[in-house]
């Protein structure tokens, strides 16, 4: 079992995704860059292409971000 998993990962068939917090930070930065470049809000696909991160990971990261933010608010307000 361990072996088949290791084989698949080494093969790049399964990419272990980056941490959601890391993606959330990157979304924030990339959103600003694209906003300036396009003169409008980027779409989720445009972000996905620019960041080379799957849209599904961006969706999850957005939620983890709100949790971080609301936690931050509760603690520091």
């Amino acid at each position: 079992t361990g072996e088949i998993k290791r084989f698949l990962r080494d093969d790049g068939i399964i990419k272990v995704s980056r941490s959601l917090k890391e993606i959330a930070v990157k979304v924030k930065i990339t959103r600003e860059i694209l906003n300036n470049r396009l003169n409008r809000e980027p779409t989720i696909e445009e972000l996905s292409i620019e960041m080379e991160v799957a849209t599904e990971d961006i969706v999850m990261a957005l939620e983890s971000n709100t949790e971080v933010e609301s936690l931050y608010k509760t603690i520091y307000q």
């Binding site: 989720i44 957005l62 939620e63």
Partner: protein, 146 residues
């Protein structure tokens, strides 16, 4: 676009499922290639509707909530249904600042938020039968051509 897609999700009336419901709707809406702001709008509206079902509809008791999403072209329709206590006077309930739980944060602004963040809001409810909130939003497509 003549895209069509539909889903229906049933989950327990538990506060930890509020965040879950938000992700589900965001993930489904992602097919329409929205902006982060459009996703945030839809998530806020869904949060308000689901929270209402949990705290007002079932009043903390166990129950099932059904969330459905349908995509037609560039329009998404989201509905949140509970079989909880229901609403006696819908018009009054939808008035900004009206609340039957004044001890809670952001009191009385749930329906106002749903109206503000979505294009359309419809509430069907009957006492002791439950409540169904249906909201629609059209995702801007102009951005695709600019």
């Amino acid at each position: 676009m003549d895209r069509k897609n539909a889903m229906s999700l049933e989950f327990d009336s538990k506060s930890e499922n509020e965040s879950f419901a938000r992700i589900v709707v965001a993930a489904f809406a992602a097919q329409l290639n929205p902006t982060i702001e459009e996703i945030a709008d839809i998530k806020t509206a869904v949060s308000e509707a689901v929270t209402n079902s949990i705290i007002h509809g079932y009043d903390g008791r166990e129950g099932k909530i059904v969330l459905t999403c349908a995509i037609e072209g560039s329009k998404i329709t989201v509905s949140v249904m509970d079989k909880g206590r229901g609403i006696e006077d819908i018009k009054q309930a939808m008035e900004p600042l009206y609340t039957t739980k004044p001890e809670m944060e952001r009191s009385g602004m749930g329906f106002a938020f749903m109206e503000a963040f979505m294009d359309n809001l419809e509430v069907i409810s009957a006492p002791e039968e439950g409540t169904t909130v249906t909201m629609t939003k059209t995702i801007d497509e102009i951005k695709l051509f600019s």
